[in-house]
């Protein structure tokens, strides 16, 4: 009787894995979102004020009343990675990038600097942000922007540095360059236009150009530093909505708030303090296919990074930027209730006294608590720890040398500023990884390898690889389950190394579907990853068919 009870108890106690199951197929590396879209989709234009009203207040309320459940990101393959698409191209996450490639980034046409004079074709109206659309001597068109007066180098440098880093990360960005010009190298086209206060097109005259240039930083020798962004190929469709899909684009099938590549922006944006996140700083272009120009589809870009690297706080004289939304209900309420006794994390923030550097530092940086300018862009608000882990592991791939290469593209005149930015990027990079590698089991790069006695499942512990945890204090536990989730074996703790390769034992029968549960334990952290293995139907070799991070 006692034996029977023990058996029943043992059966009940047998762990079962309820995780998802995967098809026995190779993980997808690219999706086909380049189906022909013969009719140009309608441009998506949202008014900025209404966008912020909805995003900060209206939609926040109505969305809460819809009781949305927390959902894992879509747009990921069986390995929990983002396949290549018109939104994202795996670059530094999967291959080596040379320093030269990183410096070059998305550049195709090249800088217009050797091709002066530049003809001004149009202008934005007044305001603090001055910009002209220009055409260089070759006929290439660019948007020309400047550093605001009194803040030399910072905005133009931030733009191109972040441009290169986000390109390397995998996003589509425009071709941005730092340029130098003199006033007489700008020629006003007789047909140049601008817009009046009501949005009506009116002729742009020299007086208006002169008035605009009074707002920008001009060197003592009369030189002007600017940033040019090449006008993207294709037809302008405006930014992508932060929620839902573009309905007239048949390739846009995943609601944007569920896309991993958009939700995963949280980690790199926090790292780079890219605060000015809104639909208006994304841009969709209806483009012709590279090989078959008769075929068209929509390509998705990120644009306008001038407010990153702490410059948004500097420009607005507002140290809260990056630490609180512009209208932050939680902070307002906490401050009100605490009658100001609550010490906010930004209060110790400082700005280095370096030309060209904004309020960008690592001392008070909290990779989880970082907040963009507003809560309006939904993908960042619903991003979960898995999205942020994904972003963190890609941004950790940048080496110091690569970061320096990107920072040097900013052409800062003070070498100390370059050094500072590199050091800060490295420090923030490590803080980012340190945090997110403790929210998710940081095992990655799973691969089955043939060893002398069969096969092994090799994996990398990212925390050990980047010296964020101690190998001595780390232990792994390996449990094997069958397809139905029944426990097959429970191996002893494994000693940890940066790359560990425990045996991968699969049944010979059928496809040998096996789930390996890898549990990592180290002081202050314990987490598991489920790796799904099966035999290739053709070669009968074991392979990884899925990864699930509970």
């Amino acid at each position: 009787m006692r034996a029977a009870i023990v058996l029943v108890m043992a059966a009940c106690a047998t762990p079962r894995i309820a995780a998802p199951r995967f098809h026995n197929a190779a993980p997808v590396a690219a999706v086909n979102d380049r189906l022909d879209v013969p009719v140009q989709p309608k441009p998506h234009e949202s008014l900025l004020g209404l966008y912020f009203f909805d995003g900060v207040f209206g939609r926040q309320v109505t969305r809460a009343l819809e009781l949305p459940r927390a959902r894992r990101a879509l747009g990921v393959n069986a390995l929990d990675e983002v396949p290549d698409s018109t939104w994202f191209t795996n670059r530094i996450g999967v291959r080596e990038l040379s320093l030269d490639e990183l410096r070059r980034g998305p550049l195709v046409a090249g800088s217009p600097e050797p091709h002066k004079p530049w003809t001004i074709l149009s202008s934005k109206r007044g305001g603090v942000s001055v910009g002209f659309v220009i055409r260089d001597a070759r006929g290439e068109k660019y948007l020309l922007k400047f550093d605001p007066r009194g803040q030399p180098e910072a905005e133009t440098a931030a733009d191109v540095i972040t441009n290169r880093l986000l390109w390397a990360f995998g996003y589509n960005v425009a071709e941005d360059y730092v340029v130098h010009l003199r006033r007489d190298e700008l020629v006003l086209s007789p047909k140049a236009t601008t817009k009046d206060a009501f949005g009506h097109k009116i002729p742009l005259d020299q007086a208006e150009v002169d008035r605009s240039l009074e707002l920008v930083e001009i060197g003592r020798d009369g030189s002007i530093r600017g940033m040019v962004s090449r006008i993207l190929d294709g037809v302008w469709l405006g930014g992508h909505p932060g929620e839902g899909v573009r309905r007239d684009d048949p390739n846009d099938r995943i609601p944007h708030e569920l896309r991993r590549d958009l939700r995963g922006q949280f980690a790199p944006f926090a790292w780079l303090d890219h605060l000015d996140v809104k639909e208006h700083n994304t841009l969709d272009m209806w483009v012709a296919d590279r090989e078959n120009p008769a075929r068209h589809y929509v390509k998705h870009y990120l644009i306008d990074f001038g407010k990153s690297l702490g410059f948004m706080a500097t420009d607005a004289h507002n140290l809260r930027r990056g630490y609180a939304f512009e209208v932050d209900y939680g902070d307002i309420l906490t401050s009100l209730i605490s009658i100001g006794l609550w010490t906010r994390p930004w209060e110790d923030r400082t700005q280095p006294a370096l030309r060209g550097v904004g309020a960008f530092g690592a001392d008070t940086f909290d990779p989880a608590g970082w907040k963009p300018h507003s809560q309006a862009y939904l993908p960042l608000q619903v991003a979960d720890r898995f999205d942020k882990f994904w972003g963190a592991k890609i941004l950790m791939r940048f080496t110091r040398a690569q970061l320096r290469a990107a920072v040097e593209v900013g052409q800062l005149s003070d070498p100390r500023a370059t050094d500072y930015l590199v050091d800060t990027l490295v420090a923030r990079q490590r803080l980012t990884a340190q945090h997110w590698f403790r929210q998710v089991n940081p095992l990655d790069a799973f691969a089955v390898e043939r060893v002398t006695k069969g096969h092994a499942l090799c994996f990398v512990d990212l925390a050990l690889r980047y010296q964020l945890a101690s190998a001595v204090a780390t232990r792994y536990r390996l449990r094997r389950y069958d397809r139905d989730g029944r426990l097959l074996s429970d191996d002893a703790f494994l000693a940890a190394t940066e790359r560990t390769c425990p045996p991968a034992i699969l049944p010979e029968a059928g496809d040998g579907y096996t789930i390996l549960e890898l549990t990592t334990t180290r002081p202050g952290f314990s987490g598991s990853t489920l790796v799904h293995l099966a035999r290739d139907p053709v070669s009968r070799e074991p392979r990884v068919i899925g990864v699930w991070r509970p």
Binding site: P27, L47, L67, G75, N77, L97, I254
Partner: protein, 455 residues
């Protein structure tokens, strides 16, 4: 197709070593074309999952259904606001209003103004400004208004701007008809009317002023003012008649006043934002030391007398944001006796600035003294909250100064400001004697009131 197979396992299975040198091949992979991904799955079909993601629970579905109508109600409520935001931006209403009300340089314009006081209601009116009369920021302002406290008000002022360098001259004229100014008697424990606790009277004034403000050095100013004024009083149509509640002989000047007033003020004003990271409109450090002395000369049968006073303020930054502790002492006295100084010209306490928590001008006598402490803290960049305690009283004479029977008011306030200017302040104040006062003001409470203009 060539590259799709090559990179098939790339995202995770290949874990490339980070590079620090130029070791990679010079030609990076070309961007994918439509042909490269022709056989790839469509977006949404890439997960490799053999199972379906669990949907919403029954409870969530039911909850969502239950909240459907409230959600519609919210959407309906917000619809006009959204429409206004949309119209404001779509039709450039701000620019249109500017274009309609101001010239292109935005130096000349006419715009509506409004003010709310819980005791007096809403005032509405219009202002005309010319901010650059002759090219040196000379300023002309005209104001007309009606309703609430002022049934009719008209004023005009012209300032010399930068024309005279450190000296700014201002010439002004006012006409006001106040139909229901309140009067609670004279002294620290004023007699109250039996019905509504106050009496009211009608006042009409005509006044011309000349003010010269000399910036001596940095925050140090010398200010000289002169005014000529004519006051007429009568019973108000509201409440019990003032001259039935109070003996006529105690209402000095009720038959009318005509006088001139000359004043000299020495002012040290270093109040400012504590840091360039804070909005300019929030004073978080510095002090105000103001002392003034003036002479009232009667142009009718009334008596002449002196008026002297001080306004001392100090701001202490307690923390970033900013969090600010401020202190204020205000004192004022007149040299004449209560049977010589018109009852409207006696130093007064009460209202939204001096001794908050009490009605406007609830206390008046020959001497007024008030101390105030306010703690303000930021809620966000453009909002701050504050809590304050005001304590003060009026006295019949300087030698009667004592802390007995001090009136204590207290309250809370929310302030809104833009980066460069104060926008509004909503305060809720009460006192140890009871009462509740809600005020919305468009001037900072620590600003100096137009003292000469009140005389």
């Amino acid at each position: 197709m060539r590259s799709i197979l090559v990179v098939l396992l790339a995202p995770s299975a290949v874990f490339a070593e980070p590079v620090g040198e130029d070791t990679a091949p010079p030609c990076p992979p070309a961007e994918l074309s439509a042909g490269d991904v022709e056989s790839a799955p469509l977006p949404g079909e890439e997960s490799g999952r053999a199972d379906q993601e669990a949907g919403d629970s029954l409870a969530r579905t039911l909850g969502r259904g239950a909240l459907f109508v409230p959600k519609l109600a919210v959407q309906g409520t917000l619809a006009p606001v959204r429409a206004s935001v949309w119209a404001y931006e779509r039709y450039h209403l701000h620019d249109r209003a500017l274009r309609l009300l101001f010239n292109d340089a935005e130096t000349i314009g006419v715009y509506p103004v409004a003010q709310l006081e819980s005791q007096y209601g809403v005032n509405v009116g219009a202002r005309f400004v010319h901010r650059d009369l002759f090219g040196a920021r000379e300023h002309l302002g005209l104001h007309v208004g009606t309703g609430g406290r002022f049934r009719q008000i008209a004023s005009a002022a012209v300032r010399s701007g930068d024309r005279l360098g450190p000296l700014e001259l201002e010439l002004g004229g006012d006409y006001e008809r106040r139909p229901r100014d309140a009067f609670y008697g004279i002294g620290n424990a004023p007699m109250l009317a039996p019905d509504d606790g106050e009496t009211r009277f009608r006042e009409q004034l005509v006044r011309a002023t000349l003010v010269g403000d000399l910036r001596v050095s940095g925050p140090f100013h010398l200010r000289a003012s002169a005014a000529i004024a004519d006051f007429d009083f009568a019973r108000s149509e509201d409440g019990p008649p003032i001259d039935q509640v109070y003996p006529r002989e105690t209402l000095v000047g009720f038959d009318g006043i005509r006088h001139t007033y000359g004043e000299l003020e020495v002012r040290w004003d270093s109040r400012r934002a504590a840091s360039s990271w804070d909005v300019d409109s929030v004073r978080a450090t510095g002090s105000l030391l103001s002392a003034f002395a003036g002479r009232v000369t009667a142009l009718d049968a009334g008596a002449d007398y002196f008026r002297v006073g001080v306004d001392l303020q100090h701001f202490v930054t307690l923390g970033r944001g900013p969090r600010v502790l401020s202190f204020r002492f205000y004192g004022e006295t007149v040299s004449g006796d209560v049977d010589e100084v018109p009852f409207t010209q006696l130093p007064r306490l009460g209202g939204k600035t001096l001794l908050r928590g009490y009605a406007l001008d609830q206390f008046r006598d020959r001497v007024a003294a008030m101390a105030s402490t306010e703690y303000a803290w930021d809620l966000n960049r453009y909002l701050s909250a504050s809590t304050f305690v005001d304590a003060g009283r009026v006295f019949p004479a300087l030698h009667d100064l004592a802390i007995e029977d001090v009136r204590v008011g207290y309250g809370v306030a929310i302030e809104a400001h833009s980066r460069r200017s104060f926008l509004l302040r909503a305060s809720l104040a009460s006192s140890l004697d009871g009462g509740l006062f809600l005020d919305v003001a468009f001037d900072p409470v620590f600003d100096l009131g137009p003292r000469v203009e009140r005389r």
